[in-house]
């Protein structure tokens, strides 16, 4: 079988590009250095389309589509930036800030946070949506790591890396809508978890200060999610 990959031709922001038929708009765009902001996406993990920051306009579609889970198609005309898209993205970002208690100045991830960098990147200076100020727990029962739900954006990177890469399935999501929370095992304290291997992958992929290592806060809290693609390449090589 010499399956020649199917090539699709589409335009992104007026530029004609080619992409493999199994690629998403996000993959095709990034391959051609077109910048689309993302938060839940992480190289090396499956896509869930949870954060909605990668919304793009596709001609003929009645609503904006998340670029990370929309496959390219022949003749597709994609717009990645215009006033409407920018307004939606800023609004989504504001919702993240308003939903929980992201107090950047006293956060362990201040200066190393993807949510914070996104606000700079998208030019958000303040939040118009009223802050919710929910009362949320902090679980520091694990000897090395802490989960602070005040900072969680429910991107589910921790859930995916734990399941897809570590294979431990410690992390999950419970509840619905605004009541959703990431949990360890059956909502047991992280320190009591029987499945957690303490590998720390969830901490490295967390975009905010929701998951952090107790010994590295502030300027030392830089995270290293870049191990993922390498790990996957190595594992691919081991397959028979």
């Amino acid at each position: 079988m010499s399956a020649e990959p199917n090539v699709r031709t589409l335009t992104i922001d007026g530029e004609e590009i080619s992409a493999r038929s199994d690629q998403t708009i996000l993959e095709a765009a990034r391959e051609h250095n077109v910048d689309i902001p993302t938060l839940c996406h992480l190289e090396g993990l499956s896509e869930v389309g949870a954060c909605r920051l990668c919304l793009v306009e596709v001609k003929g579609a009645r609503r904006l589509l998340p670029a990370c889970v929309t496959q390219v198609a022949e003749g597709m005309e994609v717009t990645t930036h215009n006033p409407k898209i920018d307004r939606y993205r800023t609004m989504i970002l504001e919702m993240y800030f308003a939903e929980r208690n992201h107090v950047c100045s006293v956060c362990v991830a201040n200066g190393n946070c993807e949510l914070q960098s996104l606000s700079l990147k998208l030019g958000m200076t303040h939040v118009e949506i009223p802050y919710q100020y929910p009362r949320l727990p902090v679980d520091a029962s694990h000897p090395r790591f802490t989960v602070d739900h005040n900072r969680c954006v429910l991107c589910t990177r921790c859930v995916r890396v734990c399941s897809e890469v570590e294979g431990a399935n410690t992390w999950g999501v419970m509840g619905r809508g605004g009541q959703s929370m990431v949990i360890t095992d059956l909502k047991q304290p992280w320190g009591d978890s029987e499945t957690c291997t303490s590998c720390g992958k969830c901490v490295q992929v967390c975009p905010t200060g929701a998951l952090f290592e107790k010994t590295s806060v502030g300027s030392k809290a830089h995270k290293h999610p870049e191990f993922l693609p390498y790990l996957q390449i190595m594992r691919e090589g081991e397959k028979p």
């Binding site: 800030f97 208690n101 992201h102 107090v103 950047c104 100045s105 006293v106 956060c107 201040n110 200066g111 946070c113 914070q116 960098s117 606000s119 700079l120 990147k121 998208l122 030019g123 958000m124 200076t125 303040h126 939040v127 118009e128 009223p130 802050y131 100020y133 929910p134 009362r135 949320l136």
Partner: protein, 177 residues
């Protein structure tokens, strides 16, 4: 003198860090002082807010009845109102009490954790609002300057642009924290 742009700075519920950052402009303050006249501020002695101020920088969130009264008056008498720093913009640390409510916080501070004269102060201090709020939730704001505190460079940029007759936008320049 009267042709100089008038500037006021106010300090609501914040730590004064934004005012420190303002002073951190160092020698650039001298340059700016030839173009601004500081008419009301914790740094000068005037007791009442003037009838008309061109630019007012607000540090801090709106946390008490007194803050609320002040900010409404300031808005009324200010041409361009600048929210300076995260407390004014987001509530920041000041607003961390919002998840608990006023009464439990007061009891915690003045009774449970006090050794002497356990009592919640009521005389000579303004009543706290149920919720600490960002300035723009209470009155319209013209310029938003994020940062805890905003850097001296950022404040200098804001003041310079205002003097040049522009309304600065800090999008892509400064962020929270």
């Amino acid at each position: 003198m009267s042709e100089l742009t008038t500037l006021a700075t106010v300090w609501l519920d914040g730590c004064s860090g934004c005012h420190m950052s303002l002073l951190d402009m160092d020698e650039r303050l001298i340059e700016l002082s030839s173009q601004f006249r500081l008419v009301y501020s914790p740094l000068v002695d005037r007791k009442t807010f003037p009838d008309h101020v061109d630019v007012t920088l607000v540090e801090g969130a709106v946390a008490s009845e007194d803050d609320l009264k002040k900010i409404r008056k300031i808005r009324e008498h200010t041409h361009i109102l600048v929210s300076l720093g995260d407390c004014a913009l987001t509530g920041n640390v000041s607003a961390m009490r919002n998840t608990f409510g006023v009464q439990p916080v007061m009891l915690r501070v003045y009774e449970q954790n006090a050794d002497l004269q356990k009592q919640v102060p009521t005389v000579g201090v303004p009543a706290l609002l149920d919720r600490v709020r960002p300035v723009h939730e209470v009155v319209p704001v013209d310029v938003f300057v994020p940062g805890c505190p905003p850097s001296a460079d950022t404040i200098y940029q804001v003041l310079s642009e205002l003097l040049a007759g522009k309304v600065p936008t800090l999008g892509g320049v400064a962020h929270f924290g």
